[in-house]
């Protein structure tokens, strides 16, 4: 039976009084995920906006155990937490590491691939805003080609590293992409991941309006256009079985790209290049 918004718990385990910007995509992702995960969850978050906006000094927005870890270690810390829970016979607790694209794909990748290979009973969530926003918006491996950032004024020259494919190659229990514009799809995937005995990887496209140079109120809209244009495919790989969970309408990619300040210097040729990539991926127009 499909989920509906009315079925979701009213309880807010994250987000009330957080210190993020209005319209923060990461905060929306956190709120939605917690609707699925529930209060018996321990979350570790490495250096990132999400870590700093979760609490400062004596205040926190988290209603569950939350640990702001060092940058590279969240999946390793969570592995240790799971080992301790097992040793103490504590069951039915979700152990989650939740990192940005840097803490997942770049500086945090070593601990992530280690925990995934060990098939630890935990999930890792990447909230991907496609640049290093906590330090002002520099280019990283998850920054898409052509995007302008604070340290690459002429745009990135190379492609975004495909983290979902990399994590799928670990042959872990569950891999899924998700979008904050499709909350029921996101929540259904978190519920599935939480039931797995081994490792799950969730990759959420969570726009940052500051980095993407869009109005704050366009965060969800841009997240939706990324999916509708086919640039961010929503799918899951459940114990090896790959399923697309949302069929895109394939609006032309410029609908998604041109409203964003970070793509202001795109040429027609660049846009055609991106559109050709989408068409190739979905086997369209051949």
């Amino acid at each position: 039976m499909a989920l509906s918004i009315a079925d979701l718990p009213k309880e807010e385990l994250f987000g009330q009084g957080h210190a993020g910007c209005g319209g923060c995509g990461a905060a929306v992702a956190g709120r939605q995920a917690m609707k699925a995960l529930g209060s018996r969850t321990i979350i570790t978050i490495p250096a990132s906006c999400m870590a700093t906006m979760g609490g400062s000094n004596l205040k926190t927005t988290w209603q569950i155990p939350f640990y702001h870890t060092l940058f590279e270690i969240a999946p390793a810390v969570s592995s240790g937490i799971r080992a301790a829970l097992d040793a103490q016979g504590i069951e039915d607790v979700n152990v989650v590491s939740w990192a940005g694209d840097a803490g997942t794909a770049d500086i945090g990748f070593q601990a992530l691939t280690g925990a995934a290979e060990r098939n630890e009973h935990m999930m890792h969530v990447c909230y991907d805003n496609e640049m290093y926003m906590n330090t002002g918006g520099q280019t990283g491996s998850q920054t898409p080609k052509f995007a302008i950032t604070s340290n690459m004024a002429n745009g990135k020259k190379v492609k975004k590293k495909n983290m979902l494919a990399i994590m799928e190659a670990h042959e872990i229990d569950y891999v899924a992409s998700a979008s904050i514009a499709y909350p029921l799809d996101l929540i259904a995937k978190f519920k599935k991941a939480a039931k797995k005995p081994g490792f799950s990887y969730m990759h959420i496209l969570a726009p940052c309006h500051r980095g993407w140079q869009i109005p704050a109120e366009k965060t969800i809209e841009l997240a939706r256009l990324a999916v509708e244009s086919g640039l961010f495919e929503l799918y899951e790989v459940d114990e090896g079985k790959r399923t697309r969970t949302v069929e895109p309408t394939f609006i032309p990619v410029d609908n998604y790209l041109l409203p964003q300040g970070r793509f202001k210097d795109l040429t027609q040729e660049d846009i055609q290049d991106i559109q050709a990539g989408v068409n190739r991926h979905y086997g369209r127009g051949e």
Partner: protein
């Protein structure tokens, strides 16, 4: 109590086993790896009910141990040299979070140039990290210090390093008395503190503003100062229970009427005891002060032990570039304002031998040296 032949690595492993660690995380490195393998064997043979997290790096090893500790389990890891440097970020972080993780360190020289041989530079590099650091003179002390380390760590809520030198201690067999488990369980009951607990949610390591940060650091240092008392009392309790007295923070040997004291730590101590005996048989009034504790630095205990001597010779198996030997520097600082002559020597780096003979030579050289030209002189080049 049973007596058996154990290497330093095995002694550390038996310590972890007797302490009934719940979570073990490590990444193999030479020469620490036999300790890890021994504990893994205890687990595989069903002698130890411990979860092993087979991490992909030293950095993640301490991170996993830290996570387990935050979730309330007694945890242990072991490393040395490059592994310790690689995990340095987590070393400081663990101390700041006040987690009682115990780590064995099979001290080894640091690269470059590459060396796999013994030296204490790795431990010294962590001297500002906020970890309590104990050094062991033989394999019996490795085992006993491991057991005391958990007690100290869980009392003051600070992590503890148990240092023993690579090969000289890690790979050398000695007779070791292994305490009975039942008796040890009484000495070392687990004091479980669950910081990350779904029944009592807390936020850990939230951003601290200037109004808060400095006060956390004050408390952390206060705990280190408290450890000066706790290390002594745990040592006394252990002696009462198990009959071996390692004398707390520092140990004095033949110091009652000594005019010249040798101050050192680690494997040199066993050799230095013989050197002192031999020099005494020739009528020289020499003694030995063993630094069992390197952090917190036991300055007051050291001043008391050295108050009657005229000459102090410090042996350092480490070099702080541009400064000198770390222990020599600390001894000078602890005795500031006193008239005693202090000579400090760098020796035994990267596995260069320091036997009884070398220690006697250093002591004789020091007798003849009125005023050192530099903070530390090099011996044995």
């Amino acid at each position: 109590m049973s007596t058996t032949l154990l290497t330093g690595s095995e002694a550390a492993a038996y310590g972890a086993k007797l302490a009934r660690i719940e979570v073990l995380a490590y990444y193999p490195i030479t020469p620490a790896f036999p300790a890890m393998e021994r504990i893994s064997k205890f687990i595989d043979e069903g002698d130890l009910n411990t979860r092993f997290v087979r991490v992909e790096s030293d950095h993640s090893a301490l991170a996993a141990a830290l996570g387990a500790s935050l979730a309330g389990s007694r945890t242990f890891t072991v490393t040395n040299s490059q592994g310790l440097l690689y995990m340095t970020e987590v070393v400081y972080h663990t101390a700041g979070l006040r987690q009682p993780v115990v780590m064995a360190v099979a001290n080894r020289a640091l690269s470059a140039p590459h060396s796999r041989f013994p030296e204490q530079g790795d431990a010294i590099s962590q001297g500002a990290s906020g970890w309590i650091q104990l050094f062991c003179e033989n394999n019996q002390e490795v085992l006993d210090n491991m057991l005391q380390a958990f007690k100290i760590a869980e009392t003051v809520r600070l992590p503890v390093m148990v240092n023993y030198e690579g090969y000289i201690q890690s790979h050398t067999l000695e007779e070791v008395e292994v305490p009975d488990q039942e008796k040890l369980d009484q000495f070392l009951p687990l004091t479980r503190v669950r910081t990350l607990d779904v029944e009592n949610p807390q936020a850990v390591n939230t951003v601290a503003s200037p109004e808060f940060y400095m006060d956390y650091k004050f408390r952390q240092n206060e705990a280190m100062e408290q450890a000066l008392t706790v290390i002594d009392s745990v040592s006394t309790d252990y002696a009462n229970e198990f009959g071996r007295d390692w004398s707390g923070l520092i140990d004095s040997y033949q110091m009652e009427d000594a005019e010249h004291a040798f101050v050192a730590m680690g494997s040199m101590i066993s050799d230095a005891r013989i050197a002192v005996d031999e020099l005494r048989s020739q009528g020289q009034k020499v003694g030995l002060v063993k630094m069992r504790t390197w952090r917190p630095f036991p300055a007051e205990a050291l001043r008391r032990a050295l108050k009657k001597v005229q000459l102090i010779t410090v042996g350092d198996k480490n070099i702080v570039y541009g400064l000198g030997g770390a222990l020599g520097t600390e001894v000078r600082s602890a005795l500031y304002g006193q008239t005693v002559r202090i000579n400090s020597y760098i020796l035994g780096l990267g596995g260069r031998d320091v036997t009884t003979e070398e220690i006697k030579q250093v002591l004789e050289l020091s007798e003849k040296t009125e005023q050192q030209a530099t903070a530390s002189e090099w011996f044995g080049l």
